[in-house]
Symmetry: none
Subunit: 176 residues, 4 copies
DNA sequence: TATGAATGAGACTTCATTCAT
DNA sequence: CATGAATGAAGTCTCATTCAT
């Protein structure tokens, strides 16, 4: 990957995340990347190709993120790690743009990457089952949705919203 | 409100909700409304004015929706109604576009209409307090966020996502 | 048809004929027509739509041109008129661009409007048959191709090429 | 001539012939030739240089083609060979692209390489003179134009167009 | 009130060409 | 000789907005 290609990717990530895909012009991306507009198309074919490159790159990160949790055998640990992972990772300053983009895309493109979460959801279901919950599958889904909701808030209005205390409350509720 | 003005409003609501604000051209709106493009500007000044008209109209509906809950005095009833309101209202076929738009706007415009929920959040806080929860404020926020997350899933229309059973599970958890 | 729409059509006809379809930019057309570039697309959707509008308009003229010949009953007159029509009509100053474009398009788009000439070819075939030619169909085709070739020369290099004398020679050969 | 230079030439010939000069991008040529785009410019300076190289190369072939005819002394043979040459040569599968390109260029660049045909035209004029035709020069021109017209049809590939029978008919007309 | 022709800015994209390696 | 990254100008097209009627 050349230096300029990377610069395009980074500029696009930040702009797409902040202003949305449609609202970000390729010229704005080129400008921010310090690159000619044409280069975007030489490297990514399309504006959409640029988006895909970012999303694909993200897919990898998500898998990496879940890998650790999925391998966990202790039920309570699975739940705890699920909650904590989101607390720590999503806030890495470098990654905020990336995650914000993931959320933005859900709405702008109406693509909900369900398949990405599936392994995690299965691990959680097993954990709730082991812990004797009545509807383990529904519990797993509800927990993920709740965390998703928390992340949504976090990315939309960082000012004043303390995600940590909410995650602590969650942990108490699940006794993990 | 004239007949044509209303038609514009409805067409815009549907298109903004389905394709997003930026991605919807005024000509598409005019087309769908069966109206000349110029008329949009006579009635709403500009494209953003059209969006505002829709959002303002929605503000009223939201207040109406909460009015009932906020007046409730029985703590458990407050929680129960909060959960149920979302179950019933958001699914009225005619209103789906409206609510979907609300969610889309949150991301596209990064405007989170927190003030709209404030009265509801206060009522919930009081309810949790009355029921002896340790962190009533955080509890209220968490519940609203969870419901928000459920609604998000619902509007993104994941096939097979049964919001009712999730809401039932929620009610069990809160024993309401 | 509004004034400006007509101006676009005329400018495009002239430019397409002189420089070719691909080599003529829509901005050049707009410029020559004294019109904003966007108007081209409002009226014709596409650059290709603009071309089609011109070609369609031409289709009508071609039919009109043949109408007279096709109705002729005297065999020799059919042949004579076929030759003469091309001599007179194609040279009407206003029409030169139009006919040149027709020839250019044959090559640039590789569309040979065979169907347009069919009625004329049939009339010619009948005429050659009546006059006792051995291969009337082939004769008809050959005559049309020859005239086509003459027109080609005429439009490509007006300077010095005397189409009239060639057409006179043709008439002598067919004794009409 | 290096291997790669030749490959560029061949790719360009085919593409220019099929899609036209303007419509063929240098990148398409490079792609088809299996060569880097830059190499085109090292070898041919610019896109037009590439076209010229092809045309020049063709000039030689044309001269070669006519050489035989021009040297012929028997008048009827001159005419016969003129007609037959086009029948045989233009259809050599490998050469179709080359000849098609010649015709395309006539229209796209409005360059009619009259000088190329001059020696042939002179030879034909002399032949018609010897055979006692009234307007030998005009006859020579008309014959060439007719053959040109036939070739045009042939290269535009009208399905069902049998150039051979047309050329046979021509030969009968000239009694050769 | 309502239309629809018209505009100008800017969007995405293509492309011939240059240049460091 | 050969590559491929990079550029800048230009091309097609979209769109919010204006305005005469």
């Amino acid at each position: 990957m050349t230096d300029k290609k990377e610069k395009i990717l980074n500029a696009a990530l930040e702009l797409f995340a902040d202003e949305g895909f449609k609202a970000t012009s390729t010229s704005k991306v080129a400008n921010k990347a310090g690159v000619s507009e044409g280069l975007i198309f030489r490297h990514f074919t399309n504006k959409e190709g640029l988006l895909n490159a970012i999303v694909d790159e993200g897919e990898k990160r998500v898998k990496l993120l879940y890998a650790d949790i999925v391998l966990e055998t202790e039920p309570k640990e699975v739940i705890k790690k699920t909650i904590e992972t989101f607390n720590t990772v999503n806030k890495e300053p470098d990654e905020v743009h990336f995650w914000k983009l993931q959320y933005k895309i859900k709405w702008e493109m109406e693509v909900y990457g369900e398949h990405k979460v599936e392994p995690l959801q299965k691990a959680l279901t097993k954990a709730f089952e082991a812990l004797g919950y009545n509807q383990p599958e529904a519990e797993a889904q509800l927990l993920l949705i709740t965390i998703d909701g928390l992340a949504t808030r976090f990315y939309l209005q960082q000012k004043g919203f303390k995600i940590e205390s909410q995650l602590e409350l969650l942990k108490k509720k699940y006794k993990v």
